[in-house]
């Protein structure tokens, strides 16, 4: 019965790490497969600090990495990809490939936690010029600078005086084909605006938005905080175009609540790029035959009442592979998916 004692977890971001830890806590074995050379997933690789508490990511997530690395019940396979899967609940035969060497593992259930990728701003239908202007960057580019403890204009390496965030880049846009809200970018932009003002107290920071999506505690923890303590300017109205003017960027939009057009010169523009299913998520959909829902993410059954069960028996999904998720959603889903995976294996054992 070894196979029914093992859950395969694909992807070692917050959801996958939590799933692996939970499987082992529930007394089963986990094989945790990660395509990259590092654990922790997108937040760990790309974000200097976490939203909403502004804690350093590596420090905050250390306990999650430790829980799988020093755990005899979790078999961690780095630099490894899934290339094929056969079989069914209780007995999946999954082919893993590492450095061109393939092995086949027999597992009872599977948790897919392959996450999202950031929207490529080259695909946006406005005219923001990400690939044209050095000083137009993304949230991820900004985090790279934060990791080095600085924020500068890439064109001059000097600190910016005026910084603008543009929200919903790649999200909520029928023209692009992404009708959904990416859920975390309002919070991340607000978090980053606080960090910029901490580093450069004399800078002016603007956030151009359509609606601010600051649900739950994020409202006062980061939105009100940014406004009240750091004087961040939230301007309702989305930028239509960025034009280079001298060595500055002319940002054109409408200040809708003031009822006037707006043209402001900026030193640095940060695009709040949203989430799309990662290549790995799309690949897992094909390999495991998991249908994708209408936005392109992995489909779950049960709507809001079952967030982790896919239509394929024995295969579960956790985190942003199932749609835009924040970290707390992802971690909760990781534990829920692990519990359900162990649950079906337990039922199989009882039936024997």
């Amino acid at each position: 019965m070894a196979k029914a004692d093992t859950v395969l977890i694909v992807g070692a971001g917050p959801a996958g790490l939590e799933a692996a830890r939970t499987v082992s806590d529930l007394g089963k074995r986990a094989i945790l497969v990660e395509a990259k050379a590092e654990l922790g997933g997108t937040p760990y690789a790309s974000y200097a600090t976490l939203t909403p508490d502004l804690q350093e990511t590596e420090h905050s997530m250390k306990h999650m990495l430790d829980a799988v690395q020093n755990n005899p019940a979790v078999d961690v396979r780095m630099n490894t990809r899934i290339v094929n899967s056969e079989g069914e609940l209780g007995s999946f035969h999954v082919s893993l490939s590492r450095d061109g060497t393939e092995t086949v593992e027999e597992v009872g259930a599977i948790v897919v936690a392959t996450g999202f990728q950031h929207f490529d701003p080259g695909r946006e239908t406005q005219m923001y010029g990400y690939y044209e202007y050095d000083d137009v960057i993304t949230l991820v580019d900004a985090e790279k600078m934060f990791k080095e403890g600085k924020v500068v204009r890439p064109s001059t390496s000097q600190p910016p005086e005026k910084v603008a965030f543009i929200q919903c880049v790649g999200s909520r846009d029928r023209q692009i084909g992404n009708k959904y809200c990416s859920k975390v970018c309002c919070g991340i932009a607000s978090k980053q605006s606080i960090e910029i003002k901490r580093m450069l107290p004399n800078s002016k920071v603007f956030i151009f938005y359509i609606d601010m999506r600051m649900y739950g505690f994020w409202e006062d923890q980061i939105y009100w905080k940014a406004q009240e303590e750091y004087k961040v300017n939230y301007i309702r109205g989305i930028v239509t175009e960025i034009i280079k003017k001298g060595d500055k960027l002319l940002v054109k939009g409408e200040d809708t609540t003031m009822g006037r057009p707006m043209e402001v010169l900026m030193d640095l523009v940060i695009l709040s790029v949203g989430m799309e299913p990662s290549k790995g998520t799309i690949e897992m959909s094909r390999i495991f035959q998991i249908p994708r829902e209408e936005h392109g993410f992995l489909q779950v059954v049960g709507g809001p009442l079952n967030t982790v069960s896919t239509p394929v028996p024995g295969i579960f999904v956790a985190g942003a592979a199932a749609g835009p998720k924040d970290i707390e959603d992802s971690v909760s889903m990781g534990a829920a998916a692990a519990a359900k995976a162990v649950g079906v294996l337990n039922r199989l054992t009882l039936q024997v």
Partner: protein, 228 residues
């Protein structure tokens, strides 16, 4: 972008006035932040009749938009009726309170637009500051209040008699809304002087200031209240 109406005023001057508003000790509890929900405008009686928005005042201060602040300091703050219906703000801002501070700064600095806005109120300021009461019965003349109907003329002709019909003796007045105790009036003068309110009027209307100062100084000297 703000209009170019005040383009000739230096940014430093606008910033100086803005800093004066911000330095007011009430400012911190009158302004937190604004998410532009519009509840203050929905509650505002002035907003129904004027191109006036307590939200925009609050937003402008929260954004620290100095150019727009200066425009509002000149053009908007006197459209508020200071009823404080806007205090229902869910962020606990007080748009009306912010306007109070802005008005005080506008008056203290003798802005031209403030002088213009308050020019018609000279008589009311005089009345309030020297008597403690505002609209007196003898101001109710037919030509001043045609919308009150034909009885205004009738009443104003025998005002003294009509007033003496009223039961409380303190209302047997024509030049005051009611009889004000001399002691109360003197205390009021002392307050106007000691709080700098009288000086504020000096920036606005020197003649009015001098007349009122003379009245107050004479009365206070007689009463001996200042030395108390």
């Amino acid at each position: 972008m703000p209009s170019d109406r005040y383009g000739d005023v230096a940014l430093e001057e606008k910033q100086r006035l803005f800093d004066e508003v911000k330095a007011d000790s009430r400012y911190k509890t009158y302004l937190y932040g604004c998410y532009e929900c519009g509840i203050c405008v929905a509650a505002c009686p002035s907003a129904r009749f004027y191109d006036f928005s307590p939200r925009k005042i609050t937003q402008t201060l929260a954004r620290e938009d100095v150019e727009l602040f200066y425009e509002q300091l000149n053009d908007d703050v006197w459209n508020c009726s200071q009823c404080f219906s806007c205090n229902r703000c869910p962020r606990q801002n007080s748009p009306g309170g912010l306007i109070t501070i802005m008005r005080e700064v506008a008056v203290k600095n003798g802005l031209r637009t403030t002088k213009e806005a308050l020019a018609g109120y000279t008589r009311i300021i005089y009345k309030i500051m020297t008597t403690g009461t505002q609209v007196s019965p003898d101001m109710l003349q037919e030509d001043a209040f045609p919308d009150w109907g034909p009885q205004v003329k009738q009443v104003s002709e025998n005002l003294d008699v009509w007033r003496r019909v009223l039961p409380p003796e303190t209302l047997h007045t024509t030049g005051l809304s009611w009889q004000v105790e001399e002691r109360t009036m003197h205390e009021l003068y002392a307050i106007w002087k000691m709080t700098g309110t009288l000086d504020m009027i000096g920036e606005l209307d020197e003649g009015l200031h001098d007349i009122m100062e003379e009245i107050m100084d004479d009365a206070l000297e007689e009463s001996g209240i200042v030395s108390e």
